[in-house]
Amino acid sequence: MVQLLRRRKTEEAPSEAPETSLSPGTRVIDAVPIPPGDPLETALLSTGAPLELASVEFESEALQTMRERGVELIVPLIGQGELLGALYLGPRLSDQPYSTDDRHLLGSLASQVAPAMKVAQLVREQQAEAKERERIQQELQVAALIQQTLLPKELPAIPGWHVDAFYRPARAVGGDFYDFINLEDGRLGVVIGDVTDKGVPAALVMATCRSMLRAAAQRHNSPSAVLADVNEALVPEIPPAMFVTCLYAIIDTNEGEIVLANAGHNLPYVRSSGGVVELRATGMPLGLMPGMPYDERTYRLERGDVMVLTSDGITEAHNVEGEMYGFGRLKGRVAIRPSNDDMVAALVGDLESFTGADAEQEDDITLVVVRRTASAKESAETFRSGDAEVLARFSVPSEEGNERIAITKVSEAVGHLGLEEARLERLKTAVGETVMNAIEHGNENRAEIPVEIEVRATAASVSVRVSDQGGDKVIPEAETPDIEAKLAGEQTPRGWGLFLIGQMVDEIKTESNDKIHTVELVMNREGVS
């Protein structure tokens, strides 16, 4: 005759009446939920004691239903001022009214049951929260994986051009992406985009959009036609309330001419000898409406000019005072020629000094920088003149074992140089150890932070630059490991990495700022083996 009603959260499915074996003559009263704010709730909370329905002077829907179901007594279960549930009792089997003793007994029972119920409720809530956290975490990992798998693994190495990119996901992984598409006749397609929304849905839209862009880029020679084409294809596919901002530029790497179209993305800046200009071309974001036209803008990059493409994760970043980084500051920073012409490091450094190094990143940050370093004629002569030519640029996620990927790629990049076998093997070992250090010490095995690798060659030497984000860390000097002490157990068996690197290559150069640490391994192409 007693039905215990656990107060449940609205999203929980109603529990079915418990199957109990009942004595003859007893029946189960179906639970009647007490809606929040019902006068009965107030009455039960204020008295905290068993309540006989016969003595209740107000009326409510819940009360009405209870009477219909034969409830005579309600015993509230109260924990920390909250109505956790109630015991509903029908008439006594003896048909006698509930006595004072009965009510005391029931009240005492309730006072013991309530804390247990509260604990059970908290445990259930914590379990549900933990499960939800785990689900979100997994979803973020999937999204990050999709995104990082689809971002370019290597930067284009084009004589006379320096192309650089930076991508750092926010914790909640936004939908930023960039891409490089090799086109005919020495042209390069450059894409930067941002999917509204975050997580797996944004990552899937990004993947779709990337494929559509790659396909359209092969069909059309004009960036506006490419964006219009992708827009038509995307509109029926994209989930409601999602869209993609995207800028697509085609660079004629022989002539330096850039043609671009823009679907609502941040405007690109170009720094030239005449100052900084915005390359404005209008167009609606992709996926919103069919039949959208896209403007085109043409600009010619001269030697030394640099074009900077950004995502709104930079311009909309806030500092501790709540100020936004903004286009003005970005433009002002682009106007300054950075040391080593490293615009990516300069902009990321400036953004970090603005937001504070420890600030949690609000959105994905993406940067693509295209700099014309020489005319086509000059770049053809570069190699002969002894200046370094970039053979490969790529990155690997900071995960144990990825030094093998770096070794293979460096080996491929220098393959045509005819490096003596023994020297090539030494370079490979040095690269492997340096990348391992970058993964483990510089980037602390955080897969989302890439180790950047650049391979350069001159007529005299090959150099491999390995950069991590441990610029603020103190790098120990390479010492000669004492093998006797190690064999005697007086020293750890480890500690071979830096020593090996030093033995393998002809020269090691290091540089650090407060963010980036770079080790440059130099191997002479001919020399003493």
Binding site: E400, G401, N402, E403, R404, I405, T408, A422, E425, R426, T429, G432, E433, M436, P481, I483, K486, L487, A488, G489, T492, P493, R494, G495, W496, G497, F499, L500, Q503
Partner: protein, 113 residues
């Protein structure tokens, strides 16, 4: 990318031969140590066959140093064969070669007894 690590013990005329395969790095520690234990379950020297090893890094060298330290404490002779020219050079540079005899192949190791 990682070819994994394998260690198998066979028996030569004068002791156990530990045949290694794949990648010798930090993760090879348990495998190499248990192979060493098996190879030292009988008297004689221990030979390590690097013929099927395609990659050794500094953490792998540390694992080998660990095994050599143990062999030294136990008075057990250790030799190696099957190393590529490059890793032979690495073993010389790190002076591992001062504490384990390096042979061209298993026959050369046997002939050296």
């Amino acid at each position: 990318m990682d070819d994994g690590f394998g260690a198998r013990v066979s028996w030569g005329d004068d002791g156990g031969v530990v045949h290694l395969t794949g990648t010798v790095n930090r993760l090879a520690k348990d495998g190499l140590e248990s192979a060493y234990e098996e190879a030292t379950s009988k008297p004689g020297r221990v030979l390590i066959d690097f013929g099927e090893v395609d990659y050794i890094n500094s953490t792998g060298i540390a694992v080998i140093v660990g095994v050599l330290a143990r062999a030294r404490a136990e008075g057990r002779e250790v030799g190696a064969f099957g190393l590529s020219d490059h890793y032979r050079e690495v073993f010389q540079i790190t002076r591992l070669a001062d504490f384990m005899a390096i042979y061209e192949d298993e026959d050369a190791a046997s002939a050296a007894r």
